[in-house]
Amino acid sequence: MKLTKEQVLHVARLASLSLTDDEEEHFAGELSGILDYVETLNRLELPPPGIHVLEQSEEPTLLDPDTPRPSIRPEEALSNAPDHSGAFFRVPRILEEGR
């Protein structure tokens, strides 16, 4: 399948990635090549949709007793934050001016 620059742009937007013009061009070509390759799957005769690897295991899934246990402290939770204020993560304004 040939991906257009517009399609790459659309997918990038879905993935919250901003790309430069060069990157759009480059990824459009590259991803088209990869898609052509993976598409050979479409030529296969296939049984109905599959079973997940996990679901086939003969071992039962262990259930957690769901007992409460201590969690990390707020200062720990904030310790890797690029920006914080008091007990909060700080981010740029969410609403644009005038809205």
């Binding site: 901003s18 991803l31 799957l41 690897v53 996990l54 262990l62 740029p92």
Partner: protein, 493 residues
């Protein structure tokens, strides 16, 4: 200075007979890292607390006997697993400053046994790659030929063991990331059964495929480490309650009477003739020891790469959506709005291969394409699994190459993602089927490059795989790269 010990067993003997102190053992490895690693680049971080910990362990040892073979044992950890006190970077700009709040379960179990973490090893960014060239922190060189890649994504962990910068290490394997670098560097690498080892504290890439496993110089050490880190922790619900001692029992014995399957699909076009010749020699060893070989068919396995690059990228796109620059990770200073902040963090924080996979996975899951790509991939995944199941009715193990070629040169595949992906063509199907698989050294090529023999078994058969690996390892012998021997002015093994 020559090596203090070679195997876990000889470490235990030396430690308990006080032939060396734990501090000496740890200093020995730190010294080797200092002397050799500037030329190899296996480590991203060396643990500044390693010597202190070794001293504490020595003090305790003076009063109490060691409670575990791993007591005082030095080990290296791939930089996508959390070790308290050390950064977890995933070799990404995105996590360059990330300090974990807890140990990964595997690390916790090692520390509880008394192990000493030497440091964190280089990898392809977020474990995405087959050469460690995708690291944002620099390249890692293959100790057998420093103009060649060590493989990936766990390249640093493979080099650490190969060049004897650490006697054992942990890596992670999503499509071959333990076995492929093990083959390229001439060490043993094991990917356990999906559900054997908890991934708690391993940075997620493709959660239905990721598994943690050991790099070692011998099958026995890989077994001991796998037993130590196996089993439920209440924090990764995919882990099954299987008795790890089962592996120990199955490890005992020879390959006499074992039936080993040879899938013709894995020995056809594209396999380097020198690799094929080496593996033929390996087959003869097992044959001479009483194993029976039987041709089998795994016709869908050749679509493994196709399936993998849809399933793994889809899961990666979802797993990596957490990197938004809010709670941790890279944040761009240039952002005016929240949306800008997300986009800039990801644009500046992720390298090209990570972006490529996020885009591919997002596309495969996007409206209108899901049935055509993701669902189709799942169907073929089931076929691959069923074919293995059928094969294991007839054979005990499957024998295959680990890689189509020996280690390639830097840059050789970097500009062609598809060529890079195809270097994992023989390893991927074990991940897709959830099966245990290992790569163990076979005879090298004429120019001295390592070759890996891969064994794939039914679920929970790690002990059996390692038993067959031990038979080959006795015939081949462990080789240390010249660069690692010269540097210490003596024999290291």
């Amino acid at each position: 200075m020559s090596g203090l010990f070679t195997t876990l067993e000889s470490f235990v003997k030396g430690r308990d007979e006080r032939a060396f102190s734990i501090e000496e053992a740890v200093r020995h490895y730190l010294g080797r890292i200092e002397g050799l690693d500037s030329g190899l680049g296996a480590f991203l971080t060396v643990n500044p607390n390693a010597i202190n910990r070794a001293r504490q362990l020595d003090n305790r040892l003076a009063r109490n006997p060691a409670h575990s073979p791993f007591y005082g044992y030095p080990i290296a950890i791939k930089d996508n697993m959390h070790v308290l006190g050390l950064p977890t970077t995933c070799a990404s700009r995105m996590l360059a400053n990330f300090r974990p709040l807890e140990n990964a379960t595997v690390v916790e179990r090692l520390l509880k046994a008394g192990a000493v973490i030497l440091g964190k090893t280089n990898m392809d960014e977020f474990a995405m790659g087959s050469s460690t060239e995708n690291s944002a922190m620099g390249i890692t060189r293959n100790p057998w030929d420093t103009e060649r890649v060590p493989g990936g994504s766990s390249g640093g962990s493979a080099v650490a063991v190969s060049a004897d910068l650490a006697p054992l290490s942990l890596g992670s394997d999503t499509g071959g990331s333990i076995r492929q670098p093990a083959a390229f560097c001439g060490v043993l690498g094991l990917k356990p059964t999906y559900g054997r080892v908890s991934r708690y504290g391993l940075v997620a890439f493709s959660s239905s495929l990721d598994q943690i496993g050991p790099f070692s110089r011998c099958a026995q050490d890989a077994l001991e480490l796998t037993v130590l880190v196996s089993g439920p922790d209440g924090r990764d619900m995919t882990v099954r309650d299987r008795d790890p001692q089962e592996m120990v029992r199955e490890f005992d014995g020879s390959v006499r009477g074992m039936t080993i399957g040879i899938p013709e699909e894995f020995f056809g076009d594209g396999l380097d003739p020198e690799v094929a010749a080496s593996l033929e020699q390996a087959r003869e060893v097992w044959s001479a020891e009483g194993a029976v070989f039987k041709p089998i068919r795994l016709p869908s396995a050749r679509f493994g790469v196709n399936v993998y690059y849809l399933i793994a990228t889809s899961e990666a796109a979802s797993n990596l959506s957490r990197y938004d620059g809010v709670r941790y990770g890279y944040r761009s200073l240039s952002s005016q709005t929240l949306k800008d902040m997300y986009q800039n963090a990801r644009r500046e924080g992720f390298g090209p291969e990570v972006k490529r996979r996020i885009l591919l996975g997002t596309f495969a899951l996007s409206a209108g394409y899901q049935d055509q790509y993701y669902r189709k991939a799942q169907q073929v995944q089931s076929l691959i699994r069923e074919e293995f199941d059928r094969a294991f009715h007839e054979v005990d193990l499957v024998f295959a190459p680990t890689t189509p070629t020996p280690a390639f040169r830097f840059g050789e595949k970097l500009s062609d993602p598809l060529a890079m992906y195809l270097s994992d063509i023989y390893t991927i199907s074990a991940n897709l089927a959830g099966l245990p698989a290992l790569s163990t050294p076979s005879w090298p090529t004429r120019s001295g490059l390592p070759v890996g023999a891969q064994l794939i078994g039914p679920s929970w058969s790690e002990g059996r795989l390692l038993r067959a690996a031990r038979v080959l390892e006795e015939a081949v012998g462990f080789r240390t790269p010249p660069i690692a021997v010269q540097a210490t002015g003596g024999k290291t093994l």
